[in-house]
Amino acid sequence: MDTVTDQSDFKAKILDKLPDYERTIRKLRELILANLVMIGEIPSPTFNEENRSQFLKRRFAEVGLQNCSTDEAGNVLGILPGSVGKRNILLVAHTDTVFSEKIDHTISVGPNEVVGPGVADNSLGLSVIASLPDILDRLGIQLKSNLVLMGAAQSLGRGNLEGLRFFLSNTEIPIHYGVCVEGAEIGRLSYSSVGMLRGEIVCMVPEEHDWTRMSYTNAIITLNEVISNIVSIPLPKRPITSIVLGSIRGGHSFNTIATTAALRFEVRSESEKIVREISERLEEIIAEVSAHSSIEVNMDVVAVRKPGGIKFSHPLCKTSREIMKSLDIETNIIPSISELSALIYKEIPSITIGMTNSEHLRQPNESIYIFPIYRGIAQLIGILTSIDEGFCDAD
């Protein structure tokens, strides 16, 4: 889209239509919110997404999608056929959440916001996908491309994107573009994936421990030593690298010596080499701490990602930025370690975008604002129609 003609064509076919899209989508508020509530009130912790997936599959069938199905990995799929059908755009949102089934999943709908566990991550993303066929119909849009709508299972934490990976490795449908839909935050634009290693370090008093030396032994103290060593690892400023210490747990009570303690962490870097080096350093720390203590220390790697993605100047990225700008959405470019990584690994030009603003993310009182959703969806429609019209094709 380098020429003046291309630019004016893009303006006429895409940008000029966005305000109308936003106005029409606003009229579909109840549809979007009802899908959000019905999806979000079905608990769906990673590896137990069946009930939510079943609902989504039924919804896909109700709106007339073709090939509605659940695959072996638990992904839900449906196809909205295009008028030409030469290319396939995959639109994906993950079906799992970080909340256990025991949490009260009741959602409340106020005049301006919706509150409940997982409403932003990612019930809204799923609701948008479930509502999309109706939205396109109301906007009078029939895409030339086939739209493959997907609720991806086993994405978060130990799920390690298993669902999407399975689909991409086994599908016979060639995917030409991918768009990952997240509930929050609007303005997010991810087009690259950082290198990542996610794992758990567990310190445990062994069964055959010499209890006469009990007072010298405590899994929490050992884990503390591991953590002190991790935070001492020097990190380069470039390529950007970080170690996230996500959660710790250990022990049982006030007055019992802790026999287990565990740390969940994530290493992120723009460089695959640095992720590998830090991983080796972690192994050394564990070996060292284990060697001078009677406590077993082990590291379990649960997920690894390679860095990659399209360039900032790729037409998909450039077009998305222009659509956001046209809708007065402030672009926030952040690398991704979620579904986008699996698409990037398969060299499919893809992005991740968000639908609205949120608060208290991943807490039981997670909330989203209703008003920005219309703009968030207009942005998505703009991107889909741009892909469909060929504005996102690289030379």
């Binding site: 508020r29 109840e30 549809l31 919110l33 009802a34 899908n35 509530v37 019905m38 009130e41 109700e62 009741t106 959602i107 409340s108 709908v109 106020g110 005049p111």
Partner: protein, 329 residues
């Protein structure tokens, strides 16, 4: 009909009615209009979700409901604004038939809905249901659509308890099990077939609603059961299992007030039916106790189960629906 036979034929599960397209075809064939009435009083936290779900699923996606109306007793919060913003028709109960003396209570809202709403079937759903779902409406309406002889459909909710065998208790809340079921067992054994006689969700044909009186307080559900049973028999009822209902829990003291109001209605009804003769004049003060240090204090609550007459006896209603001979109707 024997109770067991009735339970066999007139007890449903909402999942039997999953095919909403088929239900709507049948509804259109019968040219029936269906209205939803949600009675409210300070329900801003739950009303938004309820209206959004019913509007989207049962009007826009599947046009089962012809209107969704919120009838309010004078909320001091934003109940009406929230409901209106999501597309419900909102009414203040006091604005409907305004020349009548003012009465406050859920039953008043339900009664005035008969005048205000246009449906041949009216379905009532409480506003405080946390796990609201379209099944709360279509599960109740369906028996009326598919079975013409059924006139009144009550909801019940399965409450699985820990159990080790194939049989488990299935029933209602504390007031039902301690008060209503024993009373029905004594005097109206057929009505013990209704698993949750006090559930606040039911769908009823207009030609029944307009002919029965409405206590405006706690006794409205009990009174309906007695009146419909006396006039049309057990066969006019059906009940639908709507699975779980999550709502606010009430204290034992509040349940005591509820039981007091229900008893007033019940005793009045059995008196009117001639089952119990020469009733003494009943008091309207409920006395409960609270302890303060070493003293026990009596707390008095005045609970009067006021009642509205059958709607068909109201002149404005007769005019609106062209009823020339209400007694015959």
């Amino acid at each position: 009909m024997q109770i067991n036979e009735w339970i066999q034929h007139n007890t449903f599960h909402h999942s039997q009615f999953w095919d909403l397209k088929k239900m709507i075809e049948e509804k259109e064939k019968q040219d029936q209009k269906i209205s939803l009435c949600i009675p409210t009083l300070n329900e801003e936290k739950t009303i938004g979700k309820e209206v959004v779900l019913f509007r989207s699923e049962l009007q826009q996606r599947y046009p089962l409901l012809d209107e969704i109306a919120v009838i309010d007793s004078g909320s001091e919060d934003n109940t009406l604004d929230v409901a209106k913003s999501y597309g419900a028709d909102v009414y203040l109960a006091s604005d409907i038939l305004p020349h009548l003396d003012e009465k406050k209570g859920k039953g008043e809202n339900l009664w005035k809905a008969i005048y205000q709403l246009k449906g041949d079937i009216i379905v009532y759903v409480d506003a405080d249901i946390k796990n609201i779902h379209p099944r709360f409406v279509y599960g109740l309406v369906a028996p009326l659509i598919y079975r013409q002889e059924i006139k009144y459909v009550k909801a019940f909710y399965d409450r699985p308890l820990a159990f080790s065998h194939g049989v488990r208790p299935s029933g209602g809340g504390r007031v039902t099990e301690i008060l209503i079921r024993p009373l029905f067992s004594l005097l109206f054994p057929d009505l013990t077939a209704i698993i949750q006689p006090l559930s606040g969700e039911y769908a009823v044909r207009r030609d029944v609603l307009e002919k029965i009186p409405f206590p405006i307080g706690y006794g409205v559900e009990t009174s309906h059961l007695l009146d419909v049973y006396s006039r049309w028999g057990l066969d006019a009822f059906a009940q639908t299992d709507l699975d779980q209902r999550v709502h606010r829990n009430q204290s034992t003291q509040d349940l005591g007030k509820m039981a007091f109001g229900i008893l007033q209605t019940f005793i009045n009804r059995v008196g009117a039916l001639g089952i119990i003769k020469e009733l003494p004049e009943m008091q309207t003060i409920l006395r409960q106790y609270q302890a303060k240090e070493k003293d026990y204090q009596q707390v008095e609550y005045k609970i009067v189960e006021d009642e509205r007459p059958p709607m068909i006896t109201i002149k404005e209603y007769q005019e609106k629906y062209n009823i020339t001979n209400p007694e015959e109707a």
